[in-house]
Symmetry: D2
Subunit: 328 residues, 4 copies
Amino acid sequence: MSLLTRNARGVYPIAVTPFADSGAIDYASVDRLLDFYLECGAPGVTLLGVLGEANKLSEEESLELTRHALRRIGGRGDIVVGTNHTGFENFHRFVSKVMEAGASAVMVAPARGLATEEQVCNFFGELVGTIGTGVPLVLQDYPQNTGVYLSVDTMERLVKEFDSIKVIKHEEGSALRKVTRLRAQEQAGRRERVSILVGNSGIHLPQELHRGVDGANTGVAFPEMLVEVCERFSSGKPEEGEDLYDLFLPLIRHEQQPGIGLVIRKEIFRRRGLIDSARVRSPGPRLNGDDHAELGRLLARLDRKLRDSGEQQIISSYPVQALDSVRA
Amino acid sequence: MSLLTRNARGVYPIAVTPFADSGAIDYASVDRLLDFYLECGAPGVTLLGVLGEANKLSEEESLELTRHALRRIGGRGDIVVGTNHTGFENFHRFVSKVMEAGASAVMVAPARGLATEEQVCNFFGELVGTIGTGVPLVLQDYPQNTGVYLSVDTMERLVKEFDSIKVIKHEEGSALRKVTRLRAQEQAGRRERVSILVGNSGIHLPQELHRGVDGANTGVAFPEMLVEVCERFSSGKPEEGEDLYDLFLPLIRHEQQPGIGLVIRKEIFRRRGLIDSARVRSPGPRLNGDDHAELGRLLARLDRKLRDSGEQQIISSYPVQALDSVRA
Amino acid sequence: MSLLTRNARGVYPIAVTPFADSGAIDYASVDRLLDFYLECGAPGVTLLGVLGEANKLSEEESLELTRHALRRIGGRGDIVVGTNHTGFENFHRFVSKVMEAGASAVMVAPARGLATEEQVCNFFGELVGTIGTGVPLVLQDYPQNTGVYLSVDTMERLVKEFDSIKVIKHEEGSALRKVTRLRAQEQAGRRERVSILVGNSGIHLPQELHRGVDGANTGVAFPEMLVEVCERFSSGKPEEGEDLYDLFLPLIRHEQQPGIGLVIRKEIFRRRGLIDSARVRSPGPRLNGDDHAELGRLLARLDRKLRDSGEQQIISSYPVQALDSVRA
Amino acid sequence: MSLLTRNARGVYPIAVTPFADSGAIDYASVDRLLDFYLECGAPGVTLLGVLGEANKLSEEESLELTRHALRRIGGRGDIVVGTNHTGFENFHRFVSKVMEAGASAVMVAPARGLATEEQVCNFFGELVGTIGTGVPLVLQDYPQNTGVYLSVDTMERLVKEFDSIKVIKHEEGSALRKVTRLRAQEQAGRRERVSILVGNSGIHLPQELHRGVDGANTGVAFPEMLVEVCERFSSGKPEEGEDLYDLFLPLIRHEQQPGIGLVIRKEIFRRRGLIDSARVRSPGPRLNGDDHAELGRLLARLDRKLRDSGEQQIISSYPVQALDSVRA
């Protein structure tokens, strides 16, 4: 475990938070899942993102989960922790506790309602002033959710002004050019390098790897595939990387659905034996019989295609049960 | 203290949460403010609304504030508590605690993102199922904030289906007709009476009183005026009520500004000697010199007009210091 | 008639477009209304804003209305024309025609969907490139409608880069400080003076006049009052100006309601004898009996207050019929 | 050419509008494109959707394009025409003209700003009242764009109340269940059958075909693939259909990007020799060198995969030039 730097690379999965059917956090599943992420080759894991249902946990649960994960993961990887900065008093207290406990960074997004780039810069000034410059930040650029769009000029200004911004979690919907322009700033020597990791379900990951991102920071239910794709790209085999990626694209597209996507991912993890229940805390979606059948068909297709293309080893440790013996 | 009913009438102020300059809740100011609200003639007070900066308090602080207020207010009035139901586990725990402590009702709004009326009805079904039918609800109808618009048909359905909805906090921006139509449902015997209290800074209060609302549930910095306006209307003197209201309208309009409105209200309360500091928790607005001078001019104008019209007694217990000796 | 400059001052009413009950433009009412605006002391009039129902007119009707108004108004004042720039081919053709016909300027707002200030600046570059630098622009800063927020830095950049921006129509909801900061740019010699006229129903006009705006560019149904308020401010009698303004504030607040506000304004103009019908083109709001009674009460109150304060002369040329003999 | 019915089936492409580099409509390209759509097996074509840049054409151009297309297509297929109903006078005139000219239906979406289902139903009542019950309607259900969400109950009410609604263009982002529920209404005999065609770039087409849609009504740049996918599904070979679909999914995902997606589609049509220029009217996106290279890589990959899977005949009439000799 160490603090995140601007050289962060690879795949940092955004973890789901497994719940027992009672609604309590299921720590046995948490352990299995964390071990799995590391076995996949992830250098770290992000807890308490949107996918982790952070806003449905109490502060105590969030701290307990973070500490538990840090103990479990030991020196094997980094833990990045999603945060809520609606109020800076709460934010400061929470960040202090998770950093003391050993977290490598916290993830922050510009607050919903920031309307101009001046306001965004002032916001980060006040935020960094509150928690101190020593806390590494993953800057989540997710305007579909926050409504706050950051131009590359503003990002340059933020990265120059705030050394603690180590990673840009790039997930503006269709902003492939943004990656190219951010990298161009570095090539022109206008600012220091910053790590850029792809969010947004990795729906354009191969294109973004071509354009220069350092990896992914997303919750796709097959993180071992993301790791392998990134490795093929970095070892000069981008076509092979994209071939592998494309086999999973139908699932990635299915997972990316707003609302229901979360429970689809949990259900895939459940079918892979990684968590015990796909339960999502209320209010939240449930899968019905049609949804289960549909997912089963997609997983059976994935299984067939992996075998047909000789890529079945990629998920062989935790194969998916297309035919869901438990629920079907 | 008692549970809220569908006959709730009068002015329930939405309280600000006073902070010391350190950022801690200033309980001496809380006490002064609560006493003031009751002296004004309010039958109750709502804590932890948006104006109360609820989303910047920890759960512990929220509970402590609620319990403190319940002790202070004793049997003199009702306490309604704003809630956050992002996650029903957190919501349930919080509601149970405040109701046990003696609250009269909780305020809930339909969750942001509910897109159809079917979803809204299902949401309330699940919500009431979670906390039980015995907890009185103030249904906040504030689409400018939530993005969720409720037709009068949907409101009828909700009021019929869920007995625990006791009050509709009506604050859809310019939906004066909604009041008329909701009352028409009752006159037609289509459903039971429900209390309708005006939010949205009371910017159309006289019109809404003419259309049949039962009072107000808003954070205007002169609640004694709202009480008197409502009383003049109910005692058959609506013109006199509106005359009084119109004297304050320039201030109400000034307070209603998004963003900065909160600190303007706190500053007025401060100048009235009701709270010690206008501090708003970060991230939040501060008044600068121009803003202070502008507010001072408006308050001086109010003072002059009250005297000119012989209405100066209305705020005589806590007159406003137009010339701010502390800050100017 | 002449081209608008950066020294524009006073009240430029945003005109409604009067329709006959058949739906056709009622040119007799147009003439009466235009003459009235000029008699009020307006140096010019803006046609085809949102209030003018521009998006419900065909291009031919828009051109015909503009040409008619230019002929009617002759050398007595300026005509500013609202535009739609969804497609620059259409925009270019329309602007060319209205400028050829003698318009003094066109009004443009940043296109909905512009997400960063870089995009805004590029947009205006392309826009000015399309119609040429010789066409005076009124830059409408109305983020509540467009979703595009302009910081004062971006406005400085736009005003410096594009000489053809002559007027800023300031109507960001509660951005009183923006006026102060824009004027400070001029006092600091950072850029040339630009005219700033208030939109947003003039709901904060006195405060904005104190902060340095040059007048108003809004559709309030009592433009003669706006003119008189501005004159009292510029002649060193701001308190008297604001006293007059406050008499009308209850009506301004009532007119400002989204959706129904348009037909309320038309109905007031109708009751003042300035247009023949309050008809709004479909789809659009209609007033029902309650709405008419409510408006009547507000107008009767205005009438009484004007008399009580000795200000009745202000609207004496076109007094309002509170009791609507036609419809009631 | 005939009027659209509730039995419409198959693929109705949403046409792009080809422009010459001068910005004028390029009718030679229009002809080639229309012929191509019909050769693909489409029973009809939709003009003047968002993809057709309808809002950048003048009314004259829109009418001319529609009449031209009707003449070109003769009796070989249906023409559906997208409409703008901001003002019902304009809408009525335009609809009358295109229906007189021989169009089979017009496409309408609920107006942005409709906030409740009551308002939606009233809107359609007024709309149908304006143009008459004889004009077949394609109801575009595209809430990502309009902000108006329609529950299945509201859709049932609309389909029952308005016989002229013949097709639902289903493009709510991730509403796969909606299809199932709409079909269930029919199976339960609650209302007449209505045609459901998929929009939203067909990003979930195979899943939606499983759930019972009748085809697609979308602008994907490979409509012959959509036709073949639908045919394989309807002839009992859904797996083969989805296999074919998945080969194109990387492109569909790339085309679906907001903003730039339009010019990507035009560029693909250009590379296929179907239109002469990928020009988009201003303001609009242009592809830069990186974008061209990226698209080229994706097209080369598609080409390889089609050959590897023996599906190369599917686009053999108009193969894609991956290496763009013109621009590269």
